[in-house]
Structures are given as C-alpha cells and as structure tokens.
C-alpha cells in the first residue's frame, strides 16, 4: 500500500469539492435558515437558544450527510464514465490505493466542511448568549466526523454495487436514516418478536453499524453536560473498524470490476 498515491488522489477529490457549488450552497442555506430562526424572539423565552441549537444541528447533520453521500457516490462512477480511470490505472497505482484515496479525500473534505459548520454554530450560539462547552462541541464534531467515515465507506461500496449514482444515493440515504433513527431500538423490538424474527433482528442489531452512538451525544450540546473522552475514543475506534470493513469490501468489489 503506497499512501503517497492515495493522498495524491485525495487531493484531487478535495479540489473537486472546492470547485463545485454543493458545499457553498448548503453552507449558505444553513446560515440563512439558522440566522433567520435566530433573529426571531418569542416573548424573550430563554429556551429559544436550545431550539436554535436543535434546528442548527439538524441542518448541519443533514447538510453533512448530503455532502458525504453525494460526493462519494459519484467518485468511482465518474472515473469510469469519463474514462479518467484508464490513464490513472496506467500509472504505478493499485486499485486498493484508488479506493483508499477516494475515501480519504471525501473524508477530509467532509471534515473541513464540518469545521466550518461547527465554528459557525459555536459563534452563533455564543452570540445569542447560549451556554456552550467548546470541549463537548469539539468531541461531538469528532464523533460526527467518525460517523461520516462509515457513511463514506458505505457509499463507496454502494457505488461499486449499484448501477446508477442516483440509486446508490437513495439507498444510502434510506439505510443511514433507518440506522440513525431506529438502529439502537432494534434490540428492544427484537425482544418482542417470535422466533426466528427475533434472532434475525438481533443479528441485524449487532451487525449494522450503530450510527446512533454518534448522533445521540448531540443532546449534550443542546441540553448541557459533558461528553466523555473515553466514550468518544471508543466510538471512534468502532467507526474505524466499520469503515475499514466497508473499504475492504469496496476493494474486493473494485478488484473484480471490469473497467469498460
């Protein structure tokens, strides 16, 4: 594995994202909506800041998922469609390095976008006089970024399995939303089911990446409290393991894929 090659590819992915309008449009929309919502004052209600936090974080989560999935889903299909994959693979580079490079590029780009979003969030909440632990915000951002690692690697695998970019994007959104909001409750649902459904649901509960581990901590930002470093580090390792598994599967799929 030549990391130099993967980083060369990642630099192209980042440059592409910087030169496309997606990120800028999403950021401006988030700023406009939260800015507008922040300007409303309901009878001097102190809870308005919490509501603003909730709204703003939801927009940030939504925007980050849109950026991560749509950017990743088109990477390998675009290489094949525009035939840039041919001069690329004619260089001393392996398909594994291409897959890893695409992952790193999308992940770095999403990380940079998250920094912009979270800094904006922190400044806006502070300006509104809301309480905010910058340490918790930082950890929540790291968890968010870790989750995007799983989503990006999953989307990369999808781009090799599904025939069209739009199908991959739709399927990824459905899977991610499903796991995000229902994944952690799957165990409880399984308990109430007869066999063999119970076993199937339990197996699913343990096999799928539990994205809720990364989403739920945002409650600390909204309602206060501190996020533990130990929890965050464990969750990051968990994300790393799933990302590595999806990347390995992507490499196996790409290795066998005909280029034409």
């Amino acid at each position: 594995m030549n990391w130099n090659n993967s980083f060369a590819i990642s630099s192209v992915v980042i440059r592409e994202l910087l030169r496309r309008k997606d990120f800028y449009v999403l950021f401006i929309l988030t700023v406009l909506i939260t800015g507008l919502a922040g300007s409303i004052n309901f009878f001097n209600n102190p809870q308005i800041v919490n509501w603003l936090k909730e709204l703003s974080l939801t927009l940030i989560w939504l925007s980050s998922l849109v950026i991560a999935i749509t950017t990743t889903a088109r990477q390998l299909p675009a290489e094949r469609e525009s035939r840039t994959i041919f001069p690329l693979l004619a260089k001393p580079i392996t398909r594994a390095e291409v897959v890893v490079g695409k992952f790193i590029g999308c992940w770095q780009a999403c990380g940079a976008a998250l920094v912009v979003f979270y800094v904006f969030f922190g400044i806006m909440i502070s300006a509104k006089g809301g309480s905010l632990s910058w340490e918790t915000l930082f950890l929540a951002m790291l968890l968010h970024w870790s989750l995007l690692g799983i989503v990006i690697s999953m989307s990369l695998l999808g781009s090799l399995l599904f025939t069209s970019v739009s199908a991959n994007v739709t399927i990824c959104f459905i899977i991610v939303s499903g796991i995000l909001f229902a994944g952690l409750y799957l165990g409880k649902v399984a308990d109430q089911q007869p066999e063999p459904v119970q076993t199937i649901l339990l197996a699913l509960y343990y096999v799928i990446p539990q994205l809720g581990f990364f989403y739920e901590p945002r409650a600390f930002i909204i309602h206060g409290g501190s996020l533990q470093w130990s929890y965050s580090l464990l969750a990051m390792l968990y994300a790393l393991a799933y990302s590595a598994a999806f990347l390995t599967a992507s490499w196996l799929a790409f290795r066998r894929k005909a280029l034409n």
């Binding site: 130099n4 060369a8 592409e16 525009s82 041919f86 001069p87 580079i93 280029l259």
Partner: protein
C-alpha cells in the same frame, strides 16, 4: 535505449471474454498473439474495429488479465504495478478531470510517480511547451477544445519521461492541424529514443511515422514487419496491404 532490447513482449497471448448471458458463446478477443517490440521503434498496431488492438493494450496496461500466455513490459509481468513505472499511456477519447488546470493535472500524475517537486515543475514547463499548451496551462480543462484535451492527454502520458508510450488512436477525432501536431510530437519522441506503440486507423499516418507494424484481424496476428519491407513484399502501399490482409476482396 538499445534497439535490440524487447520493450514489449507478448507470448502466445490469449484473452477470452465470457458472456454473462445464457446461451452466449465465449468471445475470443485475442488468440495466440506473440509479438516483440524493440526499443527506440515506432510500432503501429493495426486492425479493423474489434480486431483485438485495445484488448491487447488493456492487457499491457494491466486492465485485463490474460486467459492464457504472458505479457511483459521491460521484462516485468504486466500484472505488477511496477511494470507501469516506465510507460506513458494515452487512451482513445478520454476526458481528464475537467475541474483541474493542465498544470494541476500534471502535478497530480507526477505525484503518483514520486517525482520531486522541483523536477515536476521543470517537466511541466517542458512538456506543456512540447504539446503547445503553455498559454492555457492555468485554464481548467473543461474550457479546452478537443485537440487541446488530446494534447493534455499526451502531456500526462509524458510526465514520467517514459521509455515506452502506448497510444490508443492518438489522432482519433482531431482535425488535420491537430493530427499534424500529434504526428510531430510522435516524431520528436522517436528522435529522443522513446519507443512508441500505437494503434491507428489512419494508415497514411502510420506509413509516415512507423518503423514496424503488426496487423491484427479477429484477434490473430496476420502480418508483422517493417513498413518498407512489407511495401516491397506486397508491391503496394500500406492501405492496400491492410485491406488484403483483412480479406477485403476488391483490393485483392
């Protein structure tokens, strides 16, 4: 580069494509192809559409694994990525990363070859001058004409100062001026001692720039030799030889 050293070596190469559809036969794209291309030559790889030229090139570049036989470049098995360290490749009808400028594209490929930064900048200057894209080096590729894109393609194929260039129909779709420019570049590369292996349907062009040619038909090698020898042997021009070899009756 010694002219006796085999740069490309194909030994009883066979490539089959299995159809995924039921009842469809396996297609033999290349059958028992043995060929040697020596250093410093411009070698024309000819054949009608579907003859197996691009498949052979795809094997040489490691895109397709041979079903039988072997292929090597500089005595290294083509399946090893390192075999591609000393080659430059220009595919047919390729669109490069449109959001990059020509110099960014070349920097990207230079990074893969681990060319030091100072050397990269020198090479970019030289190559962009060679392919006459100096004036447009800071413009995004999406603003280039077709001819300019093809020359950007040639530039990326040259960034590692390759000893072997594999060009798949390098003048395809270009206007006469564009073709002439690409031909001039191939000649200059030959003068620098590079080996050029290229496919083309432009037989006049092949006759002008190639030292040796091979004609492939239905996956099999039909003719191989120097252009002069073949023209003496058949007492006619390359186009007539080609038509005869591929079985076009009116030419016979």
């Amino acid at each position: 580069m010694s002219t006796n050293e085999a740069v490309i070596s194909l030994d009883h190469l066979k490539v089959e494509f299995k159809s995924k559809e039921l009842g469809q036969e396996t297609k033999i794209a290349v059958n028992d192809l043995s060929l040697k291309v020596n250093g410093g030559q411009v070698f024309g790889f000819l054949g009608p559409n579907g003859a197996g030229k691009t498949t052979t090139m795809n094997v040489l570049l490691g895109f397709v694994n041979p079903t039988g036989g072997s292929a090597s470049i500089f005595n290294v098995d083509v399946r090893q990525p390192i075999a591609r360290q000393r080659i430059g490749y220009l595919p047919e009808l390729t669109y490069y990363y449109k959001f990059l400028t020509a110099e960014e594209l070349l920097r990207f490929y230079a990074k893969i070859f681990r060319i030091p930064k100072s050397e990269t900048e020198k090479r970019i200057d030289t190559i962009l001058k060679l392919v006459e894209l100096e004036h447009a080096r800071k413009r995004q590729i999406k603003t280039y004409s077709k001819g300019m894109q093809q020359r950007a393609g040639l530039a990326q194929a040259l960034i590692n100062d390759p000893d072997l260039l594999i060009l798949d129909e390098p003048t395809s779709g270009l206007d006469p001026l564009g073709r002439m420019k690409v031909r001039d570049i191939i000649r200059r590369l030959k003068d620098e001692g590079k080996t050029v292996f290229f496919s083309s349907h432009e037989l006049g062009e092949v006759e002008t720039v190639c030292d040796r040619i091979a004609i492939l038909h239905q996956g099999e090698l039909k003719v191989e030799g120097s252009v002069d020898e073949l023209m003496k042997q058949y007492q006619t021009n390359l186009e007539a030889i080609f038509l005869k070899v591929v079985g076009y009756k009116e030419a016979a």
